[in-house]
Symmetry: C2
Subunit: 333 residues, 2 copies
């Protein structure tokens, strides 16, 4: 039911996904009055891999996450996450309210033993060298201590290895300088924890200007910094796209240059725009949740479902738990 376009995108994407993945079943949870009309042309074989659970309750985009948890226990989001808990499904994909999804996910699924906080992961492109990396957290936790950052590093490393099997992901901490004494105390402590952690290939600090360079496969930061970096990048891309349009409407020479440059520019901007990569993993829970952009297209939402399938096949939560088992927890005795 979530996202800017509701079932018209999410259901259509689900049907495309089922056609592409004949070994997979999907459960759709939401208002059958809006879902059923979209299934009319579906063949019987595909329909047999689709289950519909009806509810007319839906967490709103503007709902406060705490209210969503308290007052929306019949919502499609709550029911979907609960199916993960009951192991009736392997993963949940939602384009709905991010804060509510986190709150409900954490409440129902709980964090993996050894993980204090879940994190949201953004996929970041490396346009000049090819490939993609992971940035986390990008908004689940505004403030993080060193232990949280270490956990994010381990979680990101497991996810990156599931995307590129056989490679040992390089993990960096996002900071405002490359020297050892730079940044906050928590980042400096996290650097020491990461250096000494055997499951991590820690490669040092990375600055904002190297985010898209491909120098690290997993870049770790608190949710405020991660969200800010992603949004700032989107803003720069938006301004440059605007300048291209302005350039294409100037005098005759710049119009010609602008028109010729426009397709080239569009291809470039797509390469660098982080919002092009849909399907943000919520890592650290005892179950797989993938968050789609609210504005995702049909193919975008399908990418988010594919991301969930990849994580299920790689058993990401289980491997995170195994890797975390080696980490000494702060003693509270």
């Amino acid at each position: 039911m979530g996202g800017d376009f509701g079932p018209s995108v999410t259901v259509s994407a689900s049907l495309n996904f089922l056609l592409d993945n004949t070994d997979t079943n999907l459960v759709l949870i939401g208002d059958t009055a809006r879902i059923d009309p979209l299934l009319i042309d579906l063949d019987a074989s595909t329909r047999s891999r689709l289950e519909i659970i009806h509810t007319s309750v839906c967490v709103l985009e503007e709902s406060n996450p705490v209210d969503a948890l308290r007052n929306f226990k019949e919502s499609s989001m709550y029911l979907a996450v609960n199916l993960v808990k009951e192991k009736r499904v392997d993963a949940c994909v939602s384009a709905g309210n991010t804060g509510a999804l986190l709150m409900i996910g954490r409440h129902i699924l709980k964090t993996i033993p050894g993980i204090s906080k879940p994190a949201i992961v953004a996929s970041i492109p490396f346009p000049l060298v090819g490939g993609r990396g992971l940035l986390l957290d990008v908004g689940a936790n505004v403030a993080c201590d060193a232990q949280n950052l270490l956990e994010f590093g381990v979680m990101g490393s497991v996810l990156a290895a599931s995307i590129n099997p056989g490679r040992n992901p390089r993990v960096a901490l996002l900071n405002i300088g490359e020297e050892e004494h730079k940044g906050t105390e928590q980042i400096r402590i996290a650097a020491r924890l990461m250096e000494n952690h055997e499951a991590l290939q820690y490669v040092g600090y990375i600055e904002g200007n190297e985010l898209f360079s491909g120098k690290a496969d997993v870049i770790v930061c608190d949710g405020f910094s991660g969200n800010l970096s992603i949004k700032t990048s989107e803003g720069v891309v938006k301004v440059i796209a605007g300048l291209v349009r302005q350039g294409a409407s100037g005098n005759i020479m710049s119009r010609i240059a602008g028109l010729l440059a426009l397709p080239l520019m569009k291809r470039m901007l797509v390469k660098i725009d982080p919002s092009q990569f849909n399907g943000a993993s919520v890592l650290g829970l005892q179950g797989t949740i993938v968050k789609s952009h609210g504005s995702a297209s049909i193919s975008g939402f399908q990418s988010a479902i594919a991301q969930a399938l990849r994580e299920v096949k790689a058993d990401v939560p289980k491997i995170i738990q195994e890797k975390m088992a080696g980490i000494a927890q702060p003693c509270i005795c």
Copy 2:
């Protein structure tokens, strides 16, 4: 003596500045063995507005700021800031070690009454709507409380008004959402302080994707976030410039498009690249200090001197003190 190119840039820029500003005198502090050869062709009238103070000691780029303060009291940087303190000069401009400049500046000049911490200000372009805004802090303080953020708002507002006299600058807080409940507790408290402060035109939260939109003239954040945003923007611009070069070396059609687009792109990238605007004010001290990029060109360093002159003429530290006098300080009794 500072910057990547030393006197060859800073002295040349100083001479150009003197020729353009015949009512201004400059004092150069550094190694006469390196400065004097650059003055050979200088006419007597300009030379009379130039004073040289010799020292062969120089804070290194890699020096730890604390060491710079303790062990480099004969350094050009220390002597220059001390001249501001002694009111023998009105302002100090340096392309040297930023951390050392802040440490020495704060030690010698002290903060303005009512200001807890100095801040470094970056000039940010608004390419689509024209004009420029200010972002602070961009690196002086990794962590800031609500009172610091309020003070940055007042300081930025005074500086913005000195650049565009007669306009009441719009002040925003950088955050990861526009809703009231978003962000850290300190940002939320700062929002309330700013709303209630009569000397500020507070316009709410702004996200990273609106940084270059022109929706606010002064954007306030802690030094970690500010530095990260600026560096991330530089990184995106660098990647797009790289893509343009790659595009201009592909097949024949994309080479033609790339070559035609290249000048247009270069003009655009200059418009959005924050590193193009040289001369970062260090605000909050009892005296004017402007920090130049280490990599600044002759015209870039001249811009930094011009920025210092503007601040002196507008009496920025005095106006900040007056505006701060209206703010209730936290009671420690």
